[in-house]
Amino acid sequence: MKFMKYLFTGILFGIVLTKAEVISWYRIYEMFSFQSFHMYGVIGSAVLLGVVITQSIKHFKLKSIEGEPIKVESKFPDFWRYLIGGTCFGLGWAMTGACPGPMFILVGYGASVFGLVILSAMFGTFLYGVLRKHLPH
């Protein structure tokens, strides 16, 4: 039962990304072609309100549903991992038109072939796990 709240939040997430066409390959192609404001509006407004939310959580020391102070995780101050990893991610994102969230949402949408993309992404993550000691971070 304790998992129900994640399920419902996930359902909201899936509905929003589907209804705003964010899961469409066309929208990602259009974004990287700078031919519409749509995706920039979605991400930009999410970040803008996200900044207000995150900074408020920190400033007012808000507590979680369990009464613990909410922790906002910070990333390590590396450089190359973000640039190189990010670039690999961007290549794949533009190719499949899907980042990890939409891959799953698209399967529910009926594009079951994205099951293959998810398996491939798992394999990519596996490759990172195996190779990471040899990669610049």
Partner: protein, 188 residues
């Protein structure tokens, strides 16, 4: 009301709702980051036997798997009950450009059917697009320590430099793919 819901949602509705999703996950004492699930799933199927990177108690991350399962259900609900049309409102310029690249009826459905169906996999280049694209996403997201949700939304919201570098990387990769590789792939 249902009339309005069944139309495509504008960016100023979707963006803030994504922030609400992020807030809810933080409020539940967790975080908003989808790609960690790929690592969890690797761990579940035994990748820990090969690399210590996958040796952790994946049962503690079931909440995140439940979240993406919800996403999947949400995709189904949105399509079956909350939509009247399958078309995507992309710009005229994009439609013209994609037609020139040989895509039929761009935007008439969510995905180009010539690429994203099981039948299309019999064309090797499309099969490779899905597989290599998927591998790049999975490899890149773990290397960079997050995807669009973890870096672009959560990370930028936390005003942290690493996420800005990652997002710049997302765009370097996305621009190279869209402007140099895809035109070549789609027309050969």
């Amino acid at each position: 009301m249902l009339d309005w819901i069944s139309q495509p949602w504008p960016w100023y509705v979707a963006g803030p709702l994504i922030s609400v999703v992020m807030f809810l996950m933080l409020y539940f004492g967790k975080k908003f980051g989808v790609s960690s699930n790929l690592r969890t799933m690797c761990s579940m199927v035994g990748a820990g036997k090969v690399s210590e990177f996958f040796r952790f108690n994946w049962k503690e991350d079931i909440w995140n798997l439940v979240f993406v399962l919800g996403g999947l259900i949400g995709g189904y609900i949105a399509k079956e009950y909350l939509s009247v049309s399958e078309s995507v409102g992309i710009s005229e310029a994009t439609i013209i450009q994609l037609k020139a690249l040989g895509i039929e009826n761009p935007g008439s459905t969510y995905l180009p059917e010539s690429i994203f169906t099981w039948e299309a996999l019999s064309t090797p280049k499309y099969a490779l697009m899905l597989i290599i694209g998927g591998v790049l996403v999975g490899f890149g997201t773990r290397y960079a320590g997050g995807c669009t949700s973890g870096h672009a939304i959560s990370g930028l919201s936390n005003l942290q430099w690493p996420s800005l570098i990652a997002v710049i990387g997302f765009f370097i990769g996305g621009l190279i793919m869209t402007h140099f590789i895809l035109p070549f792939l789609l027309t050969t």
